[in-house]
């Protein structure tokens, strides 16, 4: 039963691969030439360098932040929980535009160096993607009993040493899972790096999409294969640690004392760059207004009615995608943790690597599939369900990795105990496993939600005609320089994401 589910899910997620392979096959004998061409080597090296650097940096930053928020006596922890998640909701192309406007000559703060190139891309991607690590690790911290740390303390270890040697190893599956997501995100990223003038493989994919479709798809396949290889290497996100038993996930084990100000700064800096700076830029754009005659939003006090439809669209799309992604990928996560097998890892690898394929390619793959489908399925094309399927394929990696990381922390012994008491598999899952992994699952669903709410290329191609989201509104306004409108729509997007994240994800975690 479980195996059937895993196979079905894997076949579903293989659709973009099939599309890419078909495209590469059209290129035929050229594939070899493309792979060794000089034009590919540099962008590919740039992509890998950026992805690896951002992944490592976010693993460190996300873990430090999660431990501070989850285990230390840092003041304002409830607030940090929400605001530290917020940078993820800002679409990176808007965040990059805002940070470019904020820094360098003629910027809001001219003294700051201009954000661009590799360093600029590194900074921008780190501040807008570290929540991929922070959220699942924080969830893991909340469900990891403090008993092992307390034992270490009793044995005379210092608080910091205990955190590093006892807590962090227990968090490792969640840390690597988050780092993998960040790496894959960087592979597919296009908007921000183009604005920051850093040349990556996605630029070549976009630049050649009309000129040379086969080349474009072959490059997409290269990304997908790299993603598959990396996700198979990191297939279970490290070893499973189930040493500690008991409750007390929200216990404070790290008293900061004199380093409190430093810890405060560590939390404040990413929020300053990833939330405060963009918000300040958006506000200046809104307050400055716009001398538009009959088109676009003209600034503070203008009618906001045009945002109602995008808000409803964004909410509907993101919540539906999060729930469906969790349900669809849960069998794979469960099988991977509880019934490990090579073929299950393969299935999980396919699900994971779709995240690294640019959204445009995922969308075109679904279009080719839906257009070629039998007439009875004709209604599906450009329907809301197909759009949700697109999001689930693109972001299923997040719910899968988050779900698996959450399940890894639960000792199968509880399950075994329940079995000896006569509980069937379904009842064991619902009554034993689910309550323990729920915070992790909510965090995983939260990632899908936040990714969906800012998704652009697939939304533009797959959504029902006339369907609007805040992201499409922001894109339209940004394309032609309607900055007041970009500002107000971005502020609303941030507010909506904060509300949804609080209602659906964080409330469930803190209530424990």
């Amino acid at each position: 039963m479980l195996s059937v589910g895993v196979v079905v899910v894997a076949v579903l997620f293989a659709a973009p691969f099939v599309f890419l392979v078909a495209g590469a096959l059209e290129a035929g004998g050229r594939v070899g030439d493309i792979l060794v061409s000089e034009a590919i080597r540099r962008p590919l090296a740039n992509t890998l360098l950026l992805g690896a650097s951002v992944a490592v940096a976010t693993m460190v930053l996300g873990t430090v932040l999660a431990v501070l928020v989850g285990r230390s006596d840092l003041p304002g922890r409830a607030m940090w929980r929400v605001v530290l998640a917020l940078p993820l909701v800002i679409p990176t192309f808007v965040g990059a535009t805002a940070l470019i406007a904020a820094t360098g000559r003629g910027g809001l703060i001219p003294a700051l160096p201009r954000v661009e190139g590799f360093a600029g891309s590194l900074l921008v991607l780190v501040v807008f993607t570290y929540p991929y690590v922070f959220l699942p690790v924080l969830a893991k911290v909340s469900t990891t009993p403090a008993s092992a740390e307390e034992a270490a303390r009793l044995l005379g270890h210092g608080a910091w040493r205990t955190t590093l040697r006892v807590l962090v190893p227990q968090l490792w599956p969640a840390i690597t899972a988050g780092g993998l997501l960040v790496f894959l995100y960087c592979l597919s990223e296009f908007g921000a790096v183009a604005l920051l003038r850093y040349d990556t493989l996605t630029r070549s994919i976009y630049a050649s999409r009309l000129l040379d479709r086969e080349l474009s798809l072959t490059l997409g396949l290269i990304l997908a294969v790299i993603a598959l290889a990396v996700s198979l290497l990191m297939r279970r996100g490290g070893e499973s640690y189930t040493a500690a038993v008991g409750r007390g996930g929200s216990r404070i084990t790290l008293r900061l004392g004199p380093v409190t100000p430093v810890a405060f700064l560590v939390c404040a800096l990413p929020v300053a760059i990833g939330v405060v700076a963009p918000v300040a830029v958006f506000l200046t754009w809104v307050l400055r207004g716009s001398g538009t005659v009959g088109v676009g939003y003209s600034g503070w006090g203008d009618d906001l009615g045009f945002l109602v439809q995008p808000v409803v669209g964004s909410t509907a799309a993101s919540v539906s995608a999060a729930v469906v992604a969790l349900v669809v990928t849960l069998p794979v996560a469960f099988a991977q943790v509880r019934r490990p097998a090579r073929w299950v890892d393969g299935a999980a690898g396919i699900v994971t690597s779709v995240f690294a394929i640019p959204g445009l390619v995922v969308a075109l793959a679904l279009v080719s599939w839906a257009v070629g489908a039998p007439a009875a399925l004709g209604w599906l094309y450009q329907s809301f369900p197909l759009l949700i399927l697109g999001y689930v394929l693109h972001f299923g990696a997040q719910s899968l990795r988050g779900g698996a990381a959450a399940l890894t922390g639960v000792s199968p012994r509880f399950d075994e105990a329940a079995a000896t008491l006569g509980a069937g598999p379904r009842r064991r899952f619902l009554a034993v496993d689910l309550p323990m992994v729920l915070p992790g699952l909510l965090a995983a669903g939260g990632l899908v939600l936040l990714s969906t709410i800012k998704e652009l290329p697939a939304t533009l191609l797959l959504a029902p005609t006339g369907f609007r989201t805040l992201a499409t509104t922001i894109w339209g306004a940004a394309t032609d320089g309607f900055y007041a409108e970009v500002g107000i729509a971005s502020l609303v997007l941030i507010a909506l994401s904060a509300v949804l994240t609080w209602l659906l994800v964080l409330r469930g975690q803190t209530r424990r």
Partner: protein
């Protein structure tokens, strides 16, 4: 378990809301009619949405519009083939609509609609027609550059005194169309030489026109090659922006007119409605809208440009056999890529 139920409810709620809302957005009292006409538009909603609304109001035709990047939408239409829901394609530039012309996906625009514009603003075979336009210009920072010192021709920008000073957007459709036009007017060798010269001159490259105008306004780079319209937008957003447009001398390829074009899909089952929209976009009301509200040049014969803009006659724009702009994009892209202009910084 309760939470699962709650989550499921949370998933269904927005879908219900959405249904309710989409019903709301229809005119009161009418049951939601299916759209009569579907438009794929590479022009953004701010620039074309209001005039499509007026078309709906005046003709009673319900129109659905899918907005997106022109090139992406052209790919989508190709992928959809016969089953494309689109009746009409509106392209930001001749390049993307030329892609569809080359693949035989467009039917002919009505002759009387074609006749509204000069023949160099439409496809020779009548597959598409331009309805509004932007002119290529050199945007400059008024604090840093004296316009009297600016050159007469875009070809002068490869001179040493402009090293590192002229921003370009080589991945942008308008820039590519401009290079295609240069190839056709001056020959491939000249175009190739110019691209190489710009690259060797260390001309910084940016993602798009908007980024260039912002960078010039900040003083990050003193000037850049863009479409005229983006500086008008920048000034609307921030009247203090120290930027202005400079137009190259009459006949220079540097002041090429780039058209926004409309085409009717061969696969459309509503050829008449699609043709009506094309005619509407070239009629007086729409032409005035483009002129007065979006800072574009109207293209219908006799239509007047916005008084804030220099007259087309004074710029002496280089019009062109735009037909050829669509074809030949492939060579242009290869040329740009080979010049190294895309990897300068």
């Amino acid at each position: 378990m309760k939470r699962l139920v709650a989550a499921a409810a949370a998933a269904l709620l927005p879908a219900a809301l959405l249904t309710a809302c989409s019903a709301d957005s229809q005119p009161a009292g009418s049951a939601a009619p299916p759209a009569d006409l579907t438009v794929y538009s590479g022009r953004t909603e701010n620039l074309i949405g209001p005039i499509i609304d007026r078309f709906e109001a005046e003709t009673g035709t319900a129109v659905d519009v899918r907005y997106g990047d022109s090139a992406d939408l052209a790919l989508l239409i190709e992928q959809e083939g016969d089953r494309s829901p689109a009746d009409v394609f509106i392209s930001q530039s001749p390049g993307a609509i030329g892609y569809l012309t080359d693949r035989g996906l467009l039917s002919k625009v009505d002759a009387e609609t074609l006749d509204v514009v000069d023949k160099d603003l439409r496809n020779a075979d009548g597959r598409w027609v331009g309805f509004s336009g932007r002119v290529r210009a050199l945007v400059y920072n008024t604090d840093q550059v004296d316009p009297k010192t600016l050159p007469k021709s875009v070809f002068d920008l490869t001179a040493p005194e402009y090293a590192g000073k002229v921003a370009v957007a080589p991945t942008n459709g308008s820039f590519q169309d401009f290079v295609t036009a240069m190839r056709l007017q001056e020959g491939d060798a000249v175009a190739e030489g110019w691209l190489k010269g710009m690259a060797d001159n260390g001309s910084p490259n940016y993602a798009d026109n908007t980024s260039i105008v912002q960078a010039v306004a900040r003083g990050e780079v003193p000037m850049g090659l863009v479409n005229h319209y983006y500086n008008e937008r920048a000034l609307a957003e921030d009247p203090t922006s120290p930027t202005d447009n400079y137009f190259f001398e009459s006949g220079d390829i540097g002041s090429l007119l780039i058209t926004t074009a409309i085409g009717v899909l061969e696969s459309s089952d509503d050829q008449k409605g699609a043709q009506d929209l094309a005619r509407f976009l070239l009629a007086a009301e729409a032409q005035e809208f483009f002129s007065n509200e979006t800072y574009e040049y109207p293209l219908a014969k006799g239509a007047k440009a916005n008084p804030a803009l220099p007259d087309l006659k004074d710029i002496n724009v280089t019009t062109f056999d735009l037909d050829k702009l669509g074809g030949g994009l492939e060579t242009t892209l290869q040329m740009i890529e080979a010049s190294g202009l895309t990897t300068t910084s």
